[in-house]
Structure formats: C-alpha cells, structure tokens
C-alpha cells in the first residue's frame, strides 16, 4: 500500500469496547500532518485511541488509517513509520543511555554503525551526551523522558505518538520537554500527543481535540476553542487580590476604555486585569465539569 500525503490520521466510525464498557464510540477524525493534541481527563479513552493507532490493540468497528495504512491490516508496514512513547518511560534502567538508543536503533533495522551514529546525534541534541555512559536507573524523571523520546526518533519516524509525555514531571522538566517537542515538530515530524493538561495542549498543539466519554466533543485550534466560551472579561480586584467584580468585554481598546470609564466611577481604587478565557473554561463549558473532575459521569475507568 502506498503512502498518502493526504491525511496523517483518518478515522471514521471507530469504536472500541471492553465487554460492556464502550471506551471509544463512533469516532471521526481527519488530521493533516502537524502537531495534534488529544485532550481529555483520565479515563476518557486517550490511551486506548493511541494504542489502536500505534498498532498495539485492535479496534472493533469502523475505519482507521494512519499515514494511509490500516493499523490492523498493514501493521508491519505501519510500524516502520511510527513510534510510540507511552505513559511510562519505556527505557531499560539496567542499560546505559547509549545502550538503550543502540538497542532501539537495531530493532528498527539500522546497522550497528548507523544506529551508533544516530544515537550519538540524538543524545547530543537532547543534551544527554554527558550521561550517555551512565545506567538509566540513575537518571532523573525528566532525563528518562528525554531519552525515551530520543529513542523513539532513532529511525526517523514520520509520526510519533506521545502518550501523556509530561505526566509526573516537575514544572522545569515539563517546560524543557515542551521545548524539545516544539523543536521536533520544526523538523517536520508529525506528533500526536495526549494530555490531561490544558496548558500543554495550548502550548504545543496546532490542533486540539477534546475527548470526553469516548467521543470527540470539540476540535479546533486553541483560539477557536476559546472563542466558544465567549470573549474576554475585565476583572477588578482589591488590594488583597480578591475579585470584586467581573464584566464581559468585547476586548478592543475602545471597548475596554468605555467599560473601564463606567467601572472607574463605582470602584476607582480597584486593580484591573483583562482576562482571555482559558481552556479550562472551555472544558467546563463543553463537559459541564472542570477538567479532571468529570470521571464520575463517564464509563468507569
């Protein structure tokens, strides 16, 4: 089966159940090459979808194409073009960083020499060269994650799946990893990532899909999604930072000036901020519950 450059991922009517539990229901998607984030709370079905697309598990019904290939029927061919970095760093703690890289390279079919060359290059790029000879068991969580992603790049995949890449990382490591992911996207590798952090989707993805209870309930760019909960608000705070008043505004300079003139009469001493809606609010609007707190109305995880 030939490549198609048309769609990165194409899904129609995709469903997956475990017994009576419908994890994914009639999913439809068409994604062009780029960075895509699948956003959803725990138990929404994110990992299940990634596992299906990355050939790990079978789907029950519908149609799925990844790079034009069926992850079930064309499994072997697709595996040569993709790589999966799962929720837990799938690196071998007893081996050194360099040995992990070499092992992955060999399994993708690189010659020993080519694997070594690519490994050195990637370790350098991910700033792991100094630690390359050390056992991975001694690495920090952030370093393990970086190695995990570096290993998944060793054979130059066209698409990488990152399943919750920053779960369990501290803020600094998360930021560093975001930089790496953005740099990676700049090289033309497509990325399909899942996350439960709205901020992460906002920072990384060109396109965000919101998965809830096994269905995609919204999709679009971050600004497009934010649009759905309406415009900005003017917030007035007192000296202690308590919110005094919140007023919707259309957001242009003239609008804000007019709104403020009115507010200045009643609360001349208040501090002013203009707030754009956050993805959190989008989430609340779409699902009727804040992100991470809506497991109860879903099928059990």
């Amino acid at each position: 089966m030939p490549y198609t450059d048309e769609w990165l991922i194409e899904i129609a009517g995709l469903s997956k159940s475990y017994g009576q539990r419908h994890v994914l229901q009639d999913l439809n998607l068409a994604l062009a090459p780029g960075i895509h984030a699948l956003l959803g709370p725990n138990g929404a079905g994110k990992t299940t979808l990634v596992n299906i697309l990355s050939t790990l598990i079978r789907y029950d019904a519908g149609r799925a194409r990844v790079l034009g290939l069926d992850p079930q029927r064309d499994r072997a061919q697709l595996q040569k073009l993709i790589s999966l970095t799962g929720q837990y760093a799938a690196v071998d703690g007893a081996l050194t960083g360099a040995e992990n890289m070499l092992m992955m390279g060999r399994l993708f079919g690189l010659s020993r020499r080519e694997a070594r060359r690519r490994a050195d290059e990637l370790l350098e790029r991910f700033e792991l060269s100094a630690a390359a000879g050390r056992r991975v068991a001694t690495y920090s969580g952030g370093m393990r994650r970086k190695l995990d992603i570096a290993a998944s790049l060793i054979a130059g995949p066209r698409l990488i799946f990152l399943d919750e890449p920053t779960t369990g990382l501290d803020t600094r490591s998360r930021q560093a990893l975001w930089d790496e992911i953005n740099a990676l996207a700049a090289t033309g590798t497509s990325i399909f990532l899942t996350t439960q952090y709205l901020e992460e989707a906002d920072v990384l993805a060109e396109q965000i899909m919101v998965l809830h209870g096994g269905s995609i309930i919204a999709a679009g760019t971050a600004p497009e999604l934010k649009q759905r909960v309406g415009g900005s608000t003017i917030q007035l705070h007192d000296e202690a930072g308590h919110l005094l008043q919140e007023v919707p505004t259309r957001g242009s300079a003239a609008d804000v000036a007019r709104d403020l003139t009115a507010l200045a009469r009643t609360r001349p001493e208040a501090t002013v901020t203009v707030r754009r809606p956050t993805l959190d609010e989008v989430f609340l609007q779409l699902t009727g519950a804040p992100a991470g707190q809506n497991q109860k109305d879903e099928t059990p995880a």
């Binding site: 090459p33 007893a94 399994l107």
Partner: protein, 276 residues
C-alpha cells in the same frame, strides 16, 4: 459527531521508512540485553551462585551424615546422592529471576513500545530465556566444581556426564519457561516472585534429598511420581556412572510436556497482554 480539522501542511522531505529487524537480530539484541541484566545485577548474580552453594554445604555437612546413616552410607555418599537435586533446586532459584524480569517488561510499558516496533517481539522472551540458561548453567558448574572440591568422585564416562548435564539443562529450560509464563500473567514483579516461591519447594518433595521410601505413605505417591523425581534419578545415575534405566526418557517426556504447555500458554497470552 463528526469533526474534521486541517492545518497547513509542512512539506518536509519524506523520511525513508525503517527496515525493521528480523528474528535473528531481535534474538541477538535481547539475549545481549538480558545477559547485561544478569551480569550487572551483581546481587542477583551472587545469589544465583551463593544460594545453591549454601544449600549444598548445609545438606552435606548438617543433614548429610544423619540422612546417609539411615541408608548405611556416609557424608560422601550423600553428596553424590544429593548433587543433582542441588543443581535442580538452584535452577529454580535462578529461573525465578526470569519471572521478575519478564513481569517488569510486561507491566512497565516497555513491552508495549516494543510491540509497536517492526520486529518479532517474542524475541524479548527468548532473550530472557537464553540469559537464564547461561546464568543457571554457570551456577550448576560452580555447584559441580565445589562438589569435586568436597571430595565428590565419579566414574561416569564423558557421555554419561554430558547426559546428566543435558538433563539438568533441560530442567533449567522447563523451569525458566514456566517462570516466564508466570511473569507474563502476574500483575507485578513482586507477585511473580511470590508465585515462584511455591515452585521452589517442589524439589524437596521428590527423590532429590531423601529416598521416597522413607517418606510417609500419603506423600510417597506425589514424591515418587512428580516430574522432578525421574529427572533427578536419571541425572544421579548418570553422574555416578550408572545406567539411568527408564527414568531418563520419562524425565525427558515430562520436560517436553511442560515446555509444550508453556509455549502454548505463552502463545495464547502474550499477544493479548497489553499493559494498561
């Protein structure tokens, strides 16, 4: 509902797809990996050699004289009697490590990633098996060497000696694949080693450490006919330069049966088992 999204397409050069690796490359890569595991985990390696050694010393010097006295022999006779049982018990210790490493691979997401890669993922299990063979044969060699140092002597021919080692190696393979399957089904590495613990008592209820005739009647049935007894009896006969009788092929048949069952189970479980 249907949602379609499009973004501007970056016109990147199409990378060449990777080739994927064959069975032999996979086997080589994973045998090397598992051997590194074995030999870098100094504590487990030390245990794998020390435990059987201590077992042998305990049975020879503490129980040996009194058990042998009942049979009209001495400590040296008992050493010759107990040697194969020590080697096979050691195999159990050593192979239980396989359950732990397999379970680790299955439950940490490592195997999941490997399964999305273009090579036969069963080579991961075969690598662990090969490494377990190497590690346990090494422990067996140490046990036999120390037995010689303690005064064990044999008139076994090279053929007989090789036959005994072959039988012991076959049992190591049996117990390794059984532990590999346990590692696959166990929910965690800790659980895997827990299940394995029960199996480690098996050799004591056999002809390995004391003659079956000296056991109470209700135990004799099991001890006399359980799979380890023919393997041990045949190995003992061969090690001591005697004819193994029918015991050897009964032992081999048991081993073949276990291996076939374990492979069948692994083939049924492995493809379905995905860490959640």
């Amino acid at each position: 509902m249907s949602v379609a999204t499009t973004v501007s397409r970056t016109s990147s050069p199409r990378p060449t797809p990777s080739q994927g690796a064959g069975f032999l490359t996979g086997l080589k890569v994973f045998t090397a990996r598992s051997l590194k595991h074995s030999f870098r985990d100094a504590e487990s390696l030390l245990m794998a050699v020390m435990l059987p050694l201590m077992l042998m010393l305990i049975f020879t010097f503490i129980f040996g004289e009194s058990i042998a006295a009942g049979q009209g022999g001495d400590r040296g006779d008992y050493l010759a009697y107990v040697l194969p049982a020590i080697a096979l018990t050691a195999a159990g210790f050593g192979a239980s490590y396989t359950a732990v490493v397999v379970s680790n691979d299955m439950t940490t997401g490592f195997m999941n990633r490997l399964r999305t890669m273009p090579f036969p993922s069963v080579t991961v299990l075969l690598g662990h098996t090969a490494s377990s063979m190497v590690r346990n044969l090494l422990a067996t060699a140490v046990v036999v060497a120390v037995a010689f140092a303690l005064g064990f002597r044999t008139e076994a021919s090279v053929m007989q000696f090789s036959g005994a080692v072959g039988l012991i190696a076959l049992w190591i393979l049996v117990i390794t694949v059984v532990f590999a399957v346990l590692g696959m089904v166990a929910g965690s590495a800790e659980a895997a080693s827990g299940y394995g613990f029960i199996l480690l008592f098996l050799p004591y209820v056999s002809s390995g450490f004391a003659p079956v005739e000296t056991m109470p009647g209700w135990l004799r049935g099991f001890a006399g006919y359980q799979p380890m007894t023919p393997v041990i009896d045949a190995s003992r006969a061969l090690l001591n330069g005697q004819a193994p009788g029918s015991e050897w092929w009964i032992g081999v048949l048991w081993c073949a049966g276990f291996i076939a069952a374990a492979v069948w189970l692994a083939a049924a479980i492995f493809p379905r088992k995905v860490a959640r």
